[in-house]
Every structure is written in C-alpha cells, then in structure tokens.
C-alpha cells in the first residue's frame, strides 16, 4: 500500500511537471495545446489518486474488504 502511495505521488509529480514547465517556459501555441490536452486529465487522475480516501493500515484494509450480506 505504501508502495502504491509512493508510486502515485511520483506519477502525480511527473504528470504535473510538463504543465508547470509549460507555465514557466511558455512554449509555442501548438505545444501548449498538446500539453494541456494530454496532461490535464492525466495529472488530475494521479493527483486524485493521491488525494483519495484510503485505508490507513493493513487491518483497516481487511476490515473494509469484509463482505457483509445484506440480503442481496
């Protein structure tokens, strides 16, 4: 789980980096459009992965995965 969190943090940083660099370096219009089209959804996906609610421990994860039958 910790590995997944670290991977998501790295990926969110890597996918946000082209956008941040673009804001600073101000590339030509075509490149700007390409970067925004590709990296806005991608970086928001990975940032969301970092922000999202997760079980904090292995025990919590197991608790969460317990199936409770509610009549279905």
């Amino acid at each position: 789980m910790i590995k997944t969190m670290t991977k998501n943090r790295i990926m969110s940083l890597l996918t946000s980096l082209p956008l941040i660099l673009g804001f600073i370096l101000n590339p030509p219009l075509v490149i700007s459009i390409g970067l925004l089209t590709f990296f806005i959804p991608l970086s928001s996906y990975y940032i969301g992965q970092v922000l999202m609610a997760r079980p904090k421990s292995k025990k919590e994860e197991e608790e969460r995965k317990k199936i409770t039958f509610t009549g279905y």
Binding site: G22, N26, I33, L36, L51
Partner: protein, 290 residues
C-alpha cells in the same frame, strides 16, 4: 477576436478552469430550474461543482471484470477531447471541424467506457451510446449548411460573416433548431438522453467512481460549455459576440433548457433517433428553400 489573443500556457490553463467552473454553475442552475418547475427546493447552484470535486477525493475502485488500462485511458480521452475542443473553439476561434472531431471522440469514449468495465449495466449504456451516435445527424448537417453560407468553417470567419451579413439564425433557422436539439442532447435529464436513462442505472458510467468519475464530469462540464458556446456564436454571432453577451446568453439558454428538460419525458431510444433525424432533414430542407 472575442477573447484576447494570447499564447501563454498559463492563460489557456486558467481559461479551462474558469470555463469548467462556470459550466458547473450553469449545470447547477439547470437542476435548480428543473426543481423549481417541479415544486421542489432543488440543490444549491454549486451542487454540480461540489459533486465533481467530491469525486476527486473518493476512493477509486476498479472492477475485477474490467480491462484496467482501457478503463482509465478512455475516460481520460473524453476529458482530453473536450479540453482540446475548448481551446480550439472558444479560446482560439479555430476550425469548427476539430470540435466536431472531438465530439466524435466523445461518442466513441461513451461506448468504450461502458465496454471497458465488463459490467452488463454499463454495456447497456454503451450499446445505447452507439444508437445515440446514429442520431447525431444535426452535428454533421448544421456545419455543412453553415459552410454553404459562409464558405468557411473557421469560427472567426463565421463570426466576421455574421457581423457583416447579420446572424445566421435569420438565414438558417432550421439549422439553428437542429443544433439546438444537439445542445439539448448534451444536457442532463434531457428527453433524448437514452444513454443516461434511469432504466439502465447510470448508463455507461455505472461502474465509474472516484477520480475517474470526477475527470469524466470535468469533461462533461467542458462539453456543455463548448456546445452552448458554439450554438450561440455560430447562429447568433451577429449580436452575441462579446464575452459578456455570450455569458448572459448562456444563462438564458440554460433556463430554456431547464424548462424543456423539466417538462418533457424521456423518449424511447428509437424515437430519439427518429426525432433528431427529422430535425436534420428539416435543416436540409431549409437550405433548399432559401
């Protein structure tokens, strides 16, 4: 130019965020209008925006039956397509044909999103997305008629033509009506929304939660903004051609859309296709008669 021309990437980024937030408010207004007509208090105006943001911090569960790379990538493709459409259309006033291509990507994504989950409910939505794609005739007919009139599909040229010759709605009223039908189909709770019908749970999005759903909703808010903007600028460009008039007109059209969605029941899938085809044929008849 309607918007100040700039190549700054930060400016373009801020434009995207602003448009997305504004479209979120419009969709909130749309729900409010529907609720008031049905004598309910309805959610607050910012509800749609909050709903979108909420999904970014909700847990993402990927079904075991899904094709994981496709499950994620196709949803991101939908959002990416509308980011591109927004930049080419409202920001840069570029070729309208690219917006149509982005719309085509949207339809393919709807189909792919449903299929990628492996869920039967989502597949129902996905099959209906194919059916609704066949009804998108106004999308092709209206630009063709606009091209016949203006000899260009560049949005800037279309606006310039209208400033000189008057709004296209006077020359092609039925084409404008056909495009308006298209805008209706992209509004939540619309009568032609067979893809989102409650009889198939949430359609192709049934299995999409968490950040993926958030990204999808972000794409859909941009889609609503772009289509509304295109409708207003392409057919009322002679009058509505400043940022303020466009924003006011968008609010007005959202009110009208709210009334339509509140008072019209959802039609059957077959009828949805037929009605949209009839409007497309009427638009063609319009250009032959003039």
């Amino acid at each position: 130019m309607i918007y100040p021309a700039t190549n700054s990437m930060l400016y373009l980024f801020l434009e995207i965020i602003t448009a997305s937030l504004f479209a979120g408010l419009l969709l909130g207004l749309h729900r409010k209008v529907i609720a008031r007509i049905q004598r309910r208090p309805g959610p607050p105006l910012i509800q749609y925006m909050l709903h979108t943001l909420k999904f970014f911090i909700k847990e993402l569960t990927i079904p075991d039956t899904s094709s994981m790379p496709l499950y994620v990538a196709i949803a991101l493709a939908l959002a990416g397509a509308w980011v591109l459409a927004f930049l080419v259309g409202p920001v840069l006033l570029g070729p309208y044909i690219i917006i149509i291509m982005c719309y085509a990507v949207h339809k393919v994504s709807e189909h792919g999103i449903g299929l990628a989950t492996g869920s039967p409910y989502a597949k129902f939505g996905s099959s209906r997305a194919v059916l609704s794609a066949t009804s998108e005739m106004p999308l092709v007919v209206a630009p063709a008629l606009v091209f016949v009139r203006t000899n260009s599909l560049i949005l800037q040229d279309i606006i310039n033509y209208q400033i000189i010759n008057g709004s296209l709605v006077n020359q092609l009223p039925l084409a404008a009506l056909a495009t308006f039908i298209l805008v209706i189909t992209k509004t939540p709770f619309n009568p032609f929304g067979i893809v989102y019908g409650k009889d198939i749970i949430s359609g192709f999005k049934t299995e999409h939660f968490g950040v993926i759903r958030g990204v999808l909703m972000f794409g859909e808010t941009l889609a609503f903004f772009v289509l509304l903007w295109c409708f207003l600028v392409i057919f009322f460009g002679g009058v509505i051609n400043t940022p303020l008039t466009i924003l006011l007109a968008m609010i007005g059209v959202t009110f009208i859309l709210g009334f339509i969605c509140a008072l019209t029941p959802m039609v059957a899938p077959y009828h949805s296709v037929m009605i949209q085809w009839i409007f497309a044929l009427l638009a063609i008849a319009n250009v032959l008669l003039i």
